[in-house]
Symmetry: C2
Subunit: 380 residues, 2 copies
Amino acid sequence: MHAANRLHNVSEYYFSEKLREIQTLKSQGKPIINLGIGNPDLPPPAQAVQAIQNAVNELNKHGYQPYKGLPELRNAIAQFYQKHYQVSLNSESEILPLFGAKEGIMHLSMAYLNKDDQVLVPNPGYASYSSITNLVEAEIVTYDLDENNGWQPDFDALEQLDLTKVKIMWVNYPNMPTGGKSTTELFEKLIAFGIKHQVLIVNDNPYSFILTEKPLSILSVKGAKKTAVELNSLSKTFNMAGWRVGMLTGNKDVIENALKVKSNMDSGMFYGLQIGAIAALNSENGWFESINSHYIKRREIVWKMADQLGLKYDKSAEGFFVWCKITNGKTSHEMSDYLLYEHDVFVTPGSIFGSKGDNYIRFSLCVDEKQLEEVLNRLN
Amino acid sequence: MHAANRLHNVSEYYFSEKLREIQTLKSQGKPIINLGIGNPDLPPPAQAVQAIQNAVNELNKHGYQPYKGLPELRNAIAQFYQKHYQVSLNSESEILPLFGAKEGIMHLSMAYLNKDDQVLVPNPGYASYSSITNLVEAEIVTYDLDENNGWQPDFDALEQLDLTKVKIMWVNYPNMPTGGKSTTELFEKLIAFGIKHQVLIVNDNPYSFILTEKPLSILSVKGAKKTAVELNSLSKTFNMAGWRVGMLTGNKDVIENALKVKSNMDSGMFYGLQIGAIAALNSENGWFESINSHYIKRREIVWKMADQLGLKYDKSAEGFFVWCKITNGKTSHEMSDYLLYEHDVFVTPGSIFGSKGDNYIRFSLCVDEKQLEEVLNRLN
């Protein structure tokens, strides 16, 4: 049986290959410390754990759940958006709970992209925007992010492009991997661009509570719902990456079309996960201060590592990665290999996020202070 | 923004529309009893509930999980297949845990179907085979199931077709909606057909423990792994439809290609659900006897309803639906509407499963005896 053409451009995820190598090195006795992956190590809110435990005791709640999620979950998301982003959402028509933001990239791509359509994908950027575009056989048009521009899109350059076939623009602020900041001004430019060119702007927004001054949503911009939706997730905000609870919010026609795809691909989210997610979404503000206090301390240590290695970084970057420029002429893969083989530390090479990441490496803050201090000692 | 062409043929799932009408009728005070949907009402195994409660207390297990599922879950699936189906599977290469069997229909369709490829879909049959084929813009070729043939495919008719463009044949035994039986002889014919014509045979097998003489897997046939995979699920077997735990088993190349799609669409299954699923899969044989004892008693009452309505049915049918032939000249929609509006009972019209279901209605056994007795009283 021959696989479909759409699989030809899809390769194994970089991390799954690299993690196998790390596993092999560990089994050979190497004390590898992994600063590669953004998988929160801190525990989820206690009330979320308690809520799922209580929920599974309701023995009549183990059957199929609604495709659109429980109304109670959609209401909790609406309240969350109102409280933290000052964005009003209709919980019936402007919110769709997802199994994770990545799933939403698939739903939107299936719902909007024909074979010859084009998609604007950031370079550097999260690999799934490209791999899912390949899966639906649409065409990737990359747009560059540059540190001299605060990792924002270059709108003058974008306006030079022939945009007639562009259907979706993926944006992601606070930005991963660069830590580029989300600002109201940037979101206003993006919304104006989307309206002018009839392009669906999708802001992938999982990092808005991590080391930011203030959480921002693209939907807070006036007129945003005309042309934009936002992907969001409990993964990073509540240390619940394994729960697979995310959401799509914004333009109601887009939500409706995403639901058409979704309802043909899955059969709703486990009741207990939804009840636990509601409990997490209702967390008090102290929660965010608490997790950020860890990330602040960890970041201090990573900055010292970077100093030791002669790397350059931006102290005002957002999110839980430290994105560092290599200044000794090494490529990102060479630098990553050097750290792995000489110091038993895995750090992500920037080039896996695109050619514009080639002079950078990315440190994750999802590792405790003790291990980070150990890495620092190895480098000294 | 215009939706992609693939959405043009995708409509709202019949049940979501109908359930809204039922909700409206209920809110008007109508005492509707819903015998429409196959959503198990009995509780899941107690040890599965206990296992997920224990698992979520492991506070370092709330992060991303492997795309392929935990090795422990794949081992439990392998043991389950060995114990109940006498099928040996390699847990590394021949098993892929899924969020549900429906998700697997999507993965396989994405992995194998180009735009002009054809797919054999049963009539009557589960609506998702067609709707997902539409989503990937491949071509549906229906094959008829007929009661005079025990609801098996007519292999003589299949051989008459031009099969050169056919990539996948969806089969589903024990059959839904008809209750047609799974037999080794049938599976042998299907495997021979798949090998001869180089067609991927996918048996969707969620009902093998419900009112069957003996659970059967298509993979128990010699040579099956050359041309076949099986979708299976904990939904009906363990009353865990809401958990969204299913599996794909069989041909390793197919598993590998399905994983390529899956790893680009999701980020692994919640640890607690996997641990709960393992506990369920390890259930003793008494579990199956226990749930079937309920279905046997319920079926007796539904048979009495059918007798009262002058419907014909097969007492040896498998699965938890009773598929009844209408003998008074009414169409399936007319019969369903008659029961809904005259007796406040919702029963699924057979035509939603395809034109060959037009003279049939389907009763679900996922309703307790007390409500079934109430329905019987209304009909007397």
